[in-house]
């Protein structure tokens, strides 16, 4: 029992160590093996953690000999266990995919740096998910911010450096806001542990109502920058579209979600549902989420570059997460988490498909992809399935989160919001369907296209196929997943 409870810390620990093992090896092959093998070990540990939480319920873990008040504590509930499991799963598949594509995308002497960054990123993301101590969370957020800039800038072109600088500056401002929020909350509660802060806040929140509001606003803005909340998203399209394919898959699928999950922790575990509903901040998150859903999709319609299109689609999808958070009900937060899980798997698969398309055709613009469904059928079919989930075709996770969000809107008597969900869904269809239809049908597009002429080797498509399979499973098992994570939010 004791052994399994220390697995979450061990996951973070071995991933950090693995990153610093890499400089001792010269050959890229060895580095790749180290990277994926340590990720695999961490994944296996996360499977055990998930099973343990499934059987025994949530648990706390105190790191070190010191007790809770001074020491660092980890909290592993159903959501944490599930998210760490899914994120490590995506990490492994993206790293596997990167083996065959990264050589062509970045310079040879940067490959080692890339994998160091990936493993550090994985460790820091797990830290953000597990930690029950906000300052500890801040440290991991900083590591994640630096490493995610690192995996953008690793491809040394002019636009990459520009995008990474933009990302670095904006996410540093975000970190500063978070740190200020932590300083505020430490000043008037005297604790950094989320549970202890929650107790103090419950007892005498009347005395520092205004400061609490400022704190929550600081956290929302700071984490909003990092997870691409609507008006603060401007770094995202540049960074995600210029980065190497594997990096954009990781950034879009995982990094954004971890920060959004930290916001859920702050709002609902540190402040609590009852109290946070008294603030107007949730309404603002809800409105910004709606704006993100609509404007993210609207901007995506006008994009020519496929990676930029998918990046704008990420903003729209993060809008759904903020929409779920902003509803202010436990079930809304649970759907937000479910959407994170579904979107993590789907968006990484979409980015990897687009990477393969760019590699095979040599073009980044979508008007060159006409008839591509004939030339590379497997990749395009996988892309289609991913796009279907984004649009919201039943059984796929995109549909399920939209469905439950609409139900929750009815439940909360906010009927107008259903139209936002519906119109965003239709807008998703507006920019994904033309790619699919032009890719598969249209007789004039298919002239002088040879069937399977740009066939991708099977080993490149296996990771994507596994992700798409996992996506369908997540959709099919949606009820079990929601039942598993709902108790966390007091349902």
């Amino acid at each position: 029992m004791e052994l399994i409870t220390s697995f979450p810390l061990a996951e973070i620990f071995i991933l950090f160590i693995s990153a610093f093992l890499m400089p001792f090896f010269k050959k890229d092959k060895h580095i790749k093996i180290i990277s994926i093998s340590f990720l695999l070990i961490a994944f296996i540990l996360s499977v055990f953690t998930l099973m343990f939480v499934f059987q025994n319920g949530p648990f706390y873990y105190a790191a070190g000999h010191i007790d809770t008040i001074l020491g660092i504590q980890l909290y592993i509930g159903p959501v944490e266990a599930l998210l760490s499991f899914v994120f490590l799963f995506v990490f492994i598949l993206v790293v596997w995919f990167s083996f065959s594509t990264i050589d062509a995308e970045i310079q040879e002497n940067r490959i080692k740096l890339f994998y160091i960054m990936v493993n550090l990123l994985a460790a820091s993301i797990l830290g953000i998910i597990f930690t029950n101590d906000i300052f500890n969370g801040y440290v991991f957020i900083e590591v994640a911010a630096l490493t995610s800039c690192g995996i953008v800038v690793v491809k040394e072109t002019q636009e990459n450096i520009k995008a990474a600088l933009k990302y670095l500056i904006m996410s540093t401002i975000g970190s500063g806001l978070i740190l200020m929020g932590i300083a505020f909350i430490y000043a008037f509660t005297g604790h950094l542990n989320i549970e202890l802060i929650h107790q103090v806040v419950l007892e005498d929140h009347e005395t520092f109502q205004k400061s609490l509001l400022i704190t929550v606003a600081l956290f929302t803005a700071g984490l909003g920058v990092k997870s691409a909340m609507f008006p603060l998203h401007t770094w995202l399209p540049d960074a995600h579209s210029s980065a190497p394919t594997a990096s954009s898959a990781l950034l879009s699928a995982i990094v954004l979600k971890a920060f959004a999950f930290f916001l859920i922790k702050i709002l609902y575990r540190m402040i609590g549902f009852d109290l946070v509903n008294q603030f107007s901040i949730l309404t603002i998150i809800l409105i910004l989420g709606c704006c993100g859903m609509i404007f993210g999709s609207l901007s995506a319609i006008f994009q020519k570059n496929i990676k930029r299109l998918i990046a704008y689609s990420s903003i729209a999808q993060m809008g759904y997460v903020f929409f779920g958070i902003g509803l202010g009900s436990p079930f809304g937060a649970a759907i937000a988490v479910y959407h994170m899980v579904g979107h993590a798997v789907t968006k990484s698969a979409l980015f990897m498909c687009s990477g393969l398309m760019i590699e095979e055709t040599g073009h980044k613009t979508i008007d060159r992809y006409k008839g591509l469904g004939h030339e590379m059928p497997i990749t395009f079919a996988l892309f289609t399935l991913g796009a279907f989930s984004m649009i919201g075709i039943p059984i796929l996770p995109g549909f399920i989160s939209k469905w439950y969000l609409s139900l929750e809107c009815i439940h909360l008597d906010k009927l107008l919001l259903i139209f936002v969900v519906l119109s965003s869904s239709l807008l998703n269809a507006v920019y994904y369907f033309p790619i699919l239809i032009n890719g598969f049908f249209g007789i004039e597009n298919l002239q002088d296209k040879e069937y399977r002429s740009k066939k991708v080797p099977v080993k490149k498509t296996i990771p994507i196929a596994i992700l798409i399979l996992a996506m369908i499973l997540i959709g099919a098992l949606s009820k079990n997943i929601l039942d598993f994570i709902s108790p966390e939010f007091g349902l």
Binding site: S6, I17, A63, G64, I66
Partner: protein
Amino acid sequence: MDDLILKKVVKFITPCIQLFGIYIIMYGHISPGGGFAGGTIIASSLVLQHITFGKNDMHFIFRKEMALKLISFSLILYSLIKGYSFFGGQFHLPHPPVGVPGNLLSGGFILPLNILIGLTVSSTFYIIFTLFSNE
């Protein structure tokens, strides 16, 4: 820089700076100071040498690749020692002892951890310097 006085003075002053840095690292756990402060002082001596004697001389003493390996080695060792404390609480391993004022070899893991931080910080600062010095 080709200047005799500068070279003579730097030759004389570098060991003093390094000794002072080592002192601050070693006494970090029982007096003010520690790995980070001492590490920056040692790094300043390395930078001084690099500026005075040029890249080639420094290349002979302390190469960038070596510095990177040194950093990685110290970080791994650091995390392994620190990992004992992190996991030790759960498995009821013995608690590392606390320091005694005036006694250098006390304080459990703090001395080795400080030394490792010193190595990491000095190498990192030197590497950052070499990134910006374009010779």
